[in-house]
Symmetry: C2
Subunit: 279 residues, 2 copies
């Protein structure tokens, strides 16, 4: 499997924890070390067998690693990548991240002079729950994984793709710009919509217990960890703002039509979006 023998997973939340567990569970899996700023998470990863060691100092976890996985919130990942550039992982180790925006981390990799061994990976999987306790060894099974890398990093990219494939995921290459635009619409806009809907329901005195299955699905993402989102929103793609405005205008327009008794045109719009769902 891809030839990696010692993998360091920095960040042991849903993504990092699931990645460590998937690696460890895989046939001929590499030795996996992990690190989290949270002692409880480090112990949980260790006791569950997801990692063989979980030192308190991340530098110790990455020593001798041939693959370093950054699975922290985006801002920390950008800071870590410059620390990693000099010290203490081997200078030929692959550096991979798993965040849902690529422009900031790609810039950080360039600034740190590690573009030739940096591979951005973004699995289209996850959970609104957070922390190691929400991790699952099969989280990435069957999941599409976007891969973004500089052409200099070809050898590293091939190995990373082979690794994801060995874990049952489906890696697919894209560009930073396409990826980030896509995510602003398919991930960040739905996230803020779920938060917005939850805020309106909250403001109307509704509790989650009042929801049926549809309402539950539509607010599930509102449980996501805001700390993880902070860095993503800081670097938000312009299309997120455009998407928010487009949705705001759409909903206000629907309100006008309903108030004006024009149910027929609302139903006609519902037909169009219903057709879209089966595209």
């Amino acid at each position: 499997m891809s030839g990696y023998r010692r993998v360091a997973v920095i960040g042991l939340g849903v993504m990092g924890g699931s990645f460590a567990r998937a690696l460890t569970a895989s046939e001929a899996g590499p030795e996996v070390r992990g690190w989290s700023p949270d002692a409880e998470e480090r112990h949980a990863a260790l006791f569950s067998g997801a990692v063989v060691s979980a030192p308190k100092d991340w530098r110790e976890a990455v020593r001798d690693a041939d693959l370093v996985v950054l699975a922290t919130p985006l801002r920390s990942a950008c800071r870590l990548i410059s620390d990693l550039a000099d010290d203490p992982a081997p200078q030929d180790a692959t550096i991979m991240d798993v965040s849902s925006l690529k422009a900031p981390i790609v810039r950080a990799a360039e600034a740190a002079g590690v573009s030739h061994r940096f591979v951005g990976a973004h699995p289209m999987a996850g959970s609104e729950a957070s922390g190691f306790f929400a991790s699952r060894p099969d989280l990435f099974s069957g999941s599409l994984v976007w891969i973004v890398a500089d052409s200099e990093a070809q050898a590293h990219t091939d190995r990373v793709e082979a690794l994801w494939s060995a874990l049952g995921a489906e890696p697919e290459r894209t560009t930073t710009a396409s990826h980030d635009r896509l995510m602003s619409l398919v991930s960040h806009l739905p996230q803020l919509t779920a938060n917005g809907l939850a805020a309106v329901l909250n403001g109307s005195g509704i509790t989650p217990r009042d929801l049926g299955p549809g309402g539950k699905d539509m607010t599930r993402l509102a449980a996501s960890n805001p700390v993880m989102w902070e860095g993503l929103l800081d670097e938000a793609h312009p299309d997120l703002v455009h998407g928010l405005r487009a949705l705001a205008e759409h909903l206000a327009d629907i309100a006008d039509r309903l108030e004006g008794g024009d149910v027929a045109s609302v139903v006609s719009k519902m037909k169009t979006t219903r057709n879209w769902t089966s595209e």
Copy 2:
């Protein structure tokens, strides 16, 4: 179980089909007849064993029934209830509906002079898929079922509640006004939000295949049958329009904050809605 011996289920889609299947699968279940305007659905219900007969004429299905279940779109249910008042079901049969707005059907029951034997039931269960093929015998298992009825209909209400309980659901009484306000927010607003989000994604060239699990959840409801929604939107509660406007304003405000670089206040709002989800 509730003493009903012959139940007629009018409408064999997800709701009616699941109700017929649950009844038939239950211990000492009553004889169930069904009707759908769609011949294929009638045949499917018959061949699956969900009903013992599925005549072409609904009047034949309700003959001799002691419970008539209206599981059609709201407008049809309102029309059927006045037909049922004179003809051809026994004059002491319970009439129950399952729609997600109660004011229109309660008015129709009053106009038809059957309030004393009408019980409005609304299971908080369903599916964005439509038709008998999407029905399931366990759809209502563990599901909350709102019950709305005139005080004159006490005996019928008791029997209907006992029936839902026997099917593993959890009936709870409410008033028409509370129910309809609640549904406008917890069901109708999420529905139109899903359609709105799908419309914006569609307009941005996104296809459903581009979505991850979060985006899929947030647009799943957009597959719902617009025909079912037509009658509900026609009679929409004012709080649906208020909710749409509140969400539109919220999203536009978030766009302004992101554009103005005020990520901190957006994250703070995310924290509030995250807390709400665990209320």
